[in-house]
Amino acid sequence: MASLQVNNVIKRFGDVEVLKGIDIDAQDGEFLVLVGPSGCGKSTLLNMIAGLDSITDGEVLIDGKVVNAVHPKDRDIAMVFQSYALYPNMTVEKNMAFGMEMRKIPKAERDKAVMSVAKLLQIEELLKRKPGQLSGGQRQRVAMGRALVRDPKIFLFDEPLSNLDAKLRVEMRTEIKKLHRRLGTTIVYVTHDQIEAMTLATRIAVMKDGILQQFATPQEIYDRPANVFVAGFMGSPPMNLIPAKIAKNGDGLSVEIATADERTLRLKLNGTGKGLSAHVGSDVLLGLRPEAITDLESSDSGGDIQEVECSVEVTEPTGPDMLAVLLLGGIEVVSRMRSSANVHMGEMTKFAVNMSKAVFFDTETEERI
């Protein structure tokens, strides 16, 4: 178990700057998830934490000690790779014991460690098989097993579930979470799946183009995304972003949304409007999660609920709930409500908007206000 710090880490391949100054600080026992679109530098950062790639500038600290020059094998980390990277010529047992063999741990001890991890992951009957004779899910378990037998300070996972089918992925996600609760070891987990990130993490680092966009708890990232990119990337369907204007409304503020027929739709800002007085008269993006727009009956009980009338373009029942595409102002927004909601395609209906969940972004900088 250990803490992990990444201080202003920069990575260049030739002239290309792939990581542009990343700062991350994970406590002991934390489940840190790195998430971002393909090519944003997640694997590169993970490789640098592991020591598999040199650091151009900045520092990586494990347990408070700078490890920039420490060889991967001496960092006391274990890694699970996206391709699993099992040794094809060795049996499962040998695969799992290889790291200990290299560290000259006696055979009896090795066997014991392999057996206990195999029991934990329920792969005892696979021990004598070669990786080629395993299914994808079994390989994934073995790859985890190989990391677990080492009992390292930090686990690094590089998209360990991306090669599994949807059902198995959900199962393994739960297993990994259980495992973390049981072992309490610090984990750094790379994924580009935002649901995995939300469900697993104690804290999420959202990256884009080698820049850290936001580093916060899942709830914080969901409720108060740092910028338009995070708002769009985390959450499915993504947050609705509605062009609007802040205006003075008596003592308080309100947000005005232009509709298609040149009217304006006005929503009062009661509690939420505090930081916005400086933006009166300027254009902003109003961010609303789909579940902050519902039919009137199922509106949130607390919070600042306001009514708007919208036309329903499309309804999409998903089973547990219903998504509806509404025309709010000039643009289409997605709302999420109970599947029994009394909402029909093509009708004008009143909807409840929970304005205490609203966030605002500057149109120019795309940062949250």
Partner: protein
């Protein structure tokens, strides 16, 4: 109308349609016939001749196994087999090891890799006759290496293997290895490059040093390449004819005779078509003994993949 649409397209135009169906067979049949006659036909013919009384000309009179008995009693044949054993083992072994070492060194992503790789591969583009001739000059005490050293003033330098009947077979090994190791290198390099990067990363996190990663993780993955390079090299070794003829002419005496040179001289210069044929059959059996299990395992592997 509808029945017209149902008809397969190929049967539409009379002659054209017929051609469309039968053209592949027509194109392939001459090659098939030629291969049938000149490869398999002559294998059977040669095998038959090895049981006849053929001397200068092939005759069909049955003689039984006596040519084979004579073959095995011939001291030159015995020497040829001994040479084949020495040459085969050393040539295959050294070319494999040298090729592997070169491949591992090139795999370190050194600069100018393309140029170096091409340089090593060039010998394979030469014919064995050229290789043999070049090495004959280089190893000739009066012309090549030994003379060069003498000219440099190293008067005691001596390297006369090519004219020494005990050592001459090793010069054939040297020339053969020079010619083939670049090819082996190219095969191994392709194999090394195909190894998943993440496996190597995993091994290095597991604490394996670079040599151990090669030895325990990467080389075992090269098994199919070891096998194919063994098959290629071994049949080159067994068929070896031109290299020996150009380099030593089978001499001094018959000290560098190989089964192929033996077969040629018996058949075409010593008027013993029967013994020549018998030796050719022996070579075929040896090659088959290596190739058949290989092809069998390949086919089995392919079937396994398809399942």
């Amino acid at each position: 109308m509808s029945s017209h649409i149902d008809r397969p397209a190929a049967t539409r135009g009379g002659v054209l349609g017929w051609l469309q169906i039968h053209l592949p067979k027509i194109v392939l049949s001459p090659t098939l016939a030629i291969t049938g006659v000149f490869v398999y036909g002559f294998i059977i013919w040669t095998t038959y001749l090895s049981f006849t009384k053929s001397r200068m000309f092939p005759v069909t009179k049955w003689e039984g196994i006596s040519p084979h008995v004579k073959l095995w009693a011939n001291p030159v044949w015995e020497k040829a087999l001994e040479n084949l054993a020495i040459f085969g083992i050393l040539y295959i072994g050294i070319a494999t090891v040298v090729g592997l070492i070169l491949a591992v060194m090139l795999d370190q992503r050194i600069r100018q890799e393309g140029v170096i790789r091409t340089i090593y591969l060039y010998p394979m583009a030469l014919s064995f006759i050229v290789t043999g001739t070049v090495w004959k000059w280089m190893l000739n005490p009066g012309l090549g290496l030994e003379k060069l050293m003498h000219d440099f003033g190293w008067a005691s330098f001596k390297f006369d293997w090519i004219v020494n009947s005990d050592m001459a077979i090793y010069t054939v090994v040297i020339a053969g290895v020079w010619q083939s190791s670049g090819f082996v290198m190219a095969m191994f390099l392709a194999g090394l490059r195909a190894v998943d990067d993440e496996i190597i990363k995993a091994a290095s996190i597991d604490g394996a040093s670079q040599p151990i990663i090669y030895w325990k993780v990467i080389f075992p993955l090269m098994r199919p390449i070891f096998l194919s390079s063994f098959v290629v090299l071994s049949h080159l070794a067994i068929k070896s004819y031109d290299l020996v003829i150009a380099l030593t002419g089978g001499g001094p005496g018959y000290s560098t005779a190989l089964p192929a040179t033996f077969m040629y001289s018996q058949t075409f210069t010593r008027n013993h078509i029967d013994i020549g044929s018998a030796s050719a059959v022996m070579m075929l059996i040896t090659v088959a003994a290596i190739m058949v299990p290989y092809l069998y395992s390949e086919l089995k592997a392919q079937k396994g993949v398809r399942q």
